[in-house]
């Protein structure tokens, strides 16, 4: 890459890839969508100021860097510096079997799922989405970073009606449609009958998919930007640490997770780092810019959410420690309570206390599921719940959305009402 004309530092990320997805409705394929992608993102530091430019399509590198330089001229001086070279570990991000999947094969896989569901539930899948994605990513900068990798991602989402669905994400072709449809059929059966929402204070068991929602305010408070601005609850220290069984890791190296990669969005090697250890806040999420503001080293957690967007602090993958009891036992021990699969709440607000509508949940009475709950609302304070001795984490964990490895979380004394 020739970027010698750029004064100050520069960075250039280039990406190309393709995607195929199949939409199924009522057992019929209704759309086959393909995509060819090509794009680049440049950042330039000029006179201590950082600027950026991105483009899709064929990119003239020199022009892109020049535009990033023009953007830098409009910015404020900062202590930002591009990272130097690091050692990238071998991480399995690419599966040739996924990469070679053709649209016809995905269609057949979708119809297999439908046939399996029909065999179990006696009707077609109301909806399904199967998608496979490939990408090649390369990054270089003026400080000597030079790296590239290829990645694949396979996504299957099956909808069963009555607000039930299951989904799996993986870099590999390890998703088992048979097991997935069985899981969906079980959830559909449990949700067949409706139950009115109970009112009062009771235990609520959050499935891993709902735990991902619960953790949003915690993750927002661990964002380096929130520390830099003083807005994080951890900036001044939370009142007391969480319970010692609570551990949370950021891990960009987890095998089988779609957020894994040898390096983050700025070329910093990914790693496993403790965010919460034995209930105490030990780490935070930093990209190079927030790291510079805080006088710390970046943590390999710069995430580019858009294609080919700019890096911001985020999580590659998030892992939460498991507990002692399997989730079926946690349900079996409940006299009256809820199992919640999905919540509706605002993303990434910093406040740990919130009320949220239960989008998908089940009523438990006498240790048995009695039907799906409609129009229920739960209210709790996450930080208080994570401090409470009686909060339990399940021994079984699930991959949620390809980037979270989370247990079921049982919280006592949750206020439940009619939403």
């Amino acid at each position: 890459m020739n970027a010698g004309h750029v004064e100050g530092g520069w960075e250039l990320l280039q990406a190309r890839g393709d995607e195929v997805e199949i939409h199924l409705q009522g057992g019929r394929v209704v759309q086959v969508r393909s995509e060819l992608r090509l794009g680049a993102a440049a950042r330039v530091v000029r006179a201590g100021r950082l600027g950026a430019a991105t483009a899709t399509g064929e990119v003239d590198r020199a022009e892109l860097l020049e535009r990033a330089g023009s953007a830098a001229d409009l910015g404020l001086a900062s202590g930002f510096a591009f990272p130097g070279p690091g050692t990238y570990g071998p991480i399995a991000t690419y599966d040739p079997q996924v990469a070679s999947l053709r649209a016809e094969e995905l269609c057949e896989l979708a119809l297999d799922c439908d046939r399996a569901f029909q065999g179990l539930a006696g009707r077609s899948l109301p909806g399904a989405l199967l998608r496979r994605t490939t990408a090649e990513v390369g990054i270089e900068n003026s400080s000597g970073v030079s790296g590239s990798f290829s990645r694949t991602e396979m996504q299957v989402r099956l909808e069963g009606g009555s607000k039930t669905w299951v989904s799996r994400f993986s870099p590999h072709l390890t998703i088992d449609p048979g097991r997935l449809t069985e899981e969906l059929a079980r959830r559909v059966e449990a949700a067949q009958s409706r139950a009115g929402p109970p009112e009062g204070t009771m235990p609520v068991l959050f499935a891993p998919s709902a735990t991902a929602y619960l953790l949003q305010p915690l993750v927002a408070n661990l964002d380096g930007g929130a520390f830099a601005s003083g807005a994080s609850a951890f900036s001044g220290g939370v009142e007391s640490p969480f319970k010692p069984e609570f551990w949370l890791w950021e891990d960009g190296t987890l095998d089988g997770f779609t957020g894994s990669a040898p390096f983050d969005g700025e070329g910093v090697p990914t790693r496993r780092s403790v965010l919460i250890g034995a209930g105490r806040q030990l780490g935070m999420l930093l990209d190079c810019a927030t790291a510079a503001r805080l006088g710390r080293a970046p943590t390999g957690t710069a995430v580019r959410e858009e294609f080919p967007g700019l890096p911001v602090p985020g999580v590659n993958n998030l892992e939460m420690a498991s507990g002692q009891d399997p989730s079926p036992r946690l349900i079996g021990d409940m006299e009256l309570g809820l199992v919640v699969y999905d919540l509706m709440s605002e993303d990434a607000l910093l406040s740990s206390g919130f009320a949220a509508q239960v989008h998908s949940g089940l009523l438990v009475r006498g240790g048995r599921v009695r039907g799906r709950v409609e129009n229920a609302m739960v209210r709790l304070d996450l930080f208080a719940a994570l401090r409470a001795v009686e909060t339990l984490f399940s021994s079984d964990r699930e991959n949620v959305g390809g980037t979270f490895l989370l247990p079921w979380v049982l919280i006592q004394g949750v206020a439940v009402g009619r939403g």
Binding site: G51, T54, L74, A233, L349, A356, N375, G419
Partner: protein, 459 residues
């Protein structure tokens, strides 16, 4: 611009003509965005250039579609789309017709941002941050300016060829105030589809955001429970967008048996004082357009009249399924996806009450303004209000912390018991998501509304 435009319209048309289909269309997007984000003493300026297109064909029972970035990729994308469209066999889908449209539509901004140096815009955002930071107890402030200017090209195999320029300007401000371990946020946003003067008004908004964040530090949290709420037009519009608006998107109705039963034309779904329409023709709104992404002329579409459902938002495909004409609401985010029925500017028609009358009838209730956003899943909705006050003595009284209104859409629509006469266009920094397609600029025109007996809780 003209030379480029002719190339794309002709190029897309040539590729469509070369491949027979029951229906086919092609789009290309040229979009340039300037993003300026200032947070405390940090800034990030970003020039973004998007070039990409989408071709799709209906031959049998399924759509085949392919997205691409460059001219060189276009033939391959067409091959993929047509091959996919032939893959499924089955009964061919029916696509509704629309009069062929041939048009080249240029922007006519009231105040054109393209003539204003980017440095001036960056300085304005820095100034907004300084204004917020000047407020005691504000620990952090952020100002974001987004300016998008672009051209959409849409060609169909039924003779349409449309080139339409568009513009989206938006400012979002956020102040964070902190006392002890309590952090509260105050926000302000403003937007326009044709007028940079709206952006210049953000300095007053900066003072408002900072004051709101500080005020919230000393505010009490809202008590959980069912209340009568009076909603500012921003929240009224967001509520109707999230609750009813998505139900009026015809593909959502077709995909859900429960909704299909509920959303029958003529069914009473809301209080009889409620009239709602969706209008892509509201001049000055970011979601204003003349032709949709299927080259169908957009039109104001009545959705609810006196509480009864009178219409839905359609693409060509859903219109054919319902046996009606397409409404011009086929919209996409960028170039990567096929069009879906989407809202543009959703309008609650003005009622007969005044705001004072609404407040007088809501003693002990809650007044909510400024939106943090909302969400809908099935018939459940969730709406977050940044600013909340008790209603005391028929007036907006003691401030409370941010809160959410949550509930069941159909129950809420029937307990809506007041619509004020003060409708305004509220074109803030509102973006809608549907499936993978986010962010799509949308707007609302709404008056104050009052809803009885709805669940309110803290966020």
């Amino acid at each position: 611009m003209t030379a480029v435009a002719e190339n794309w319209l002709e190029l897309l048309d040539r590729h469509l003509r070369a491949r027979p289909a029951r229906y086919a269309d092609a789009r290309y997007l040229l979009r340039d965005t300037l993003r300026i984000r200032v947070e405390d003493d940090q800034s990030n300026v970003h020039f973004e250039r998007t070039r990409g297109g989408f071709v799709r064909a209906a031959i049998d029972s399924a759509w085949g579609g392919a997205a691409f970035n460059t001219k060189d990729q276009l033939p391959g994308a067409c091959e993929m789309a047509w091959s996919a469209a032939r893959m499924t066999g089955g009964k061919p889908m029916v696509i509704a017709g629309a009069p062929p449209a041939v048009a080249r539509l240029r922007l006519k901004p009231r105040s054109d941002p393209r003539g204003i140096p980017a440095a001036e815009k960056a300085a304005l955002m820095r100034q907004a941050v300084e204004v917020m930071r000047a407020s005691p107890r504000v620990v952090s402030a952020r100002a974001t300016y987004t300016e998008t200017v672009g051209t959409r090209f849409v060609v169909t195999d039924r003779g349409s060829a449309v080139e339409e320029e568009f513009m989206e300007l938006a400012v979002a401000l956020r102040a964070a105030a902190r006392a002890g371990d309590v952090t509260e946020l105050g926000n302000f946003d403003c937007a326009s589809g044709n007028d940079f003067a709206a952006v210049r008004s953000c300095l007053a908004g900066a003072r408002e955001a900072a004051a709101a964040a500080v005020q919230l530090l000393d505010a009490e949290p809202v008590e959980v429970g069912r209340r009568t709420v009076v909603l500012h037009p921003t929240l009224a519009g967001t509520l109707i967008h999230e609750s009813l608006g998505h139900f009026c998107e015809a593909d959502n109705v077709l995909a859900d048996e429960y909704l299909e039963k509920k959303m029958r034309i003529g069914a009473r779904i809301a209080s009889p004082i409620l009239d709602i329409s969706d209008d892509p023709g509201v001049t000055g709104a970011r979601a204003c357009y003349r032709y949709d992404d299927e080259a169908v002329e957009a039109r104001r579409t009545a959705l609810v009249r006196e509480g009864r459902l009178v219409g839905l938002l359609h693409t060509r495909q859903t219109a054919a399924r319902f046996g009606v004409e397409p409404t011009g609401h086929a919209r996409t985010v960028g170039h990567r996806f096929a069009p879906l029925p989407r809202m543009s500017v959703t309008c609650i028609h003005p009622g007969l009450s005044t705001l004072d009358e609404l407040l007088r009838g809501a003693e002990g209730g809650i007044y909510m303004s400024r939106s943090f956003g909302g969400e809908t899943e099935g018939e459940n909705f969730h709406l977050s209000a940044a600013r909340v006050h008790r209603i005391e003595g028929g007036r907006i009284g003691t401030p409370l912390r941010s809160a959410a209104v949550i509930g069941n859409t159909f129950e809420m629509l029937k307990s809506l018991d007041g619509v004020a006469d003060d409708q305004v266009l509220v074109d803030g920094s509102f973006y809608c998501g549907k499936g993978d397609q986010y962010p799509l600029a949308v707007g609302m025109a709404a008056p104050h509304i009052r809803v009885a007996d709805v669940m309110v809780g803290p966020i």
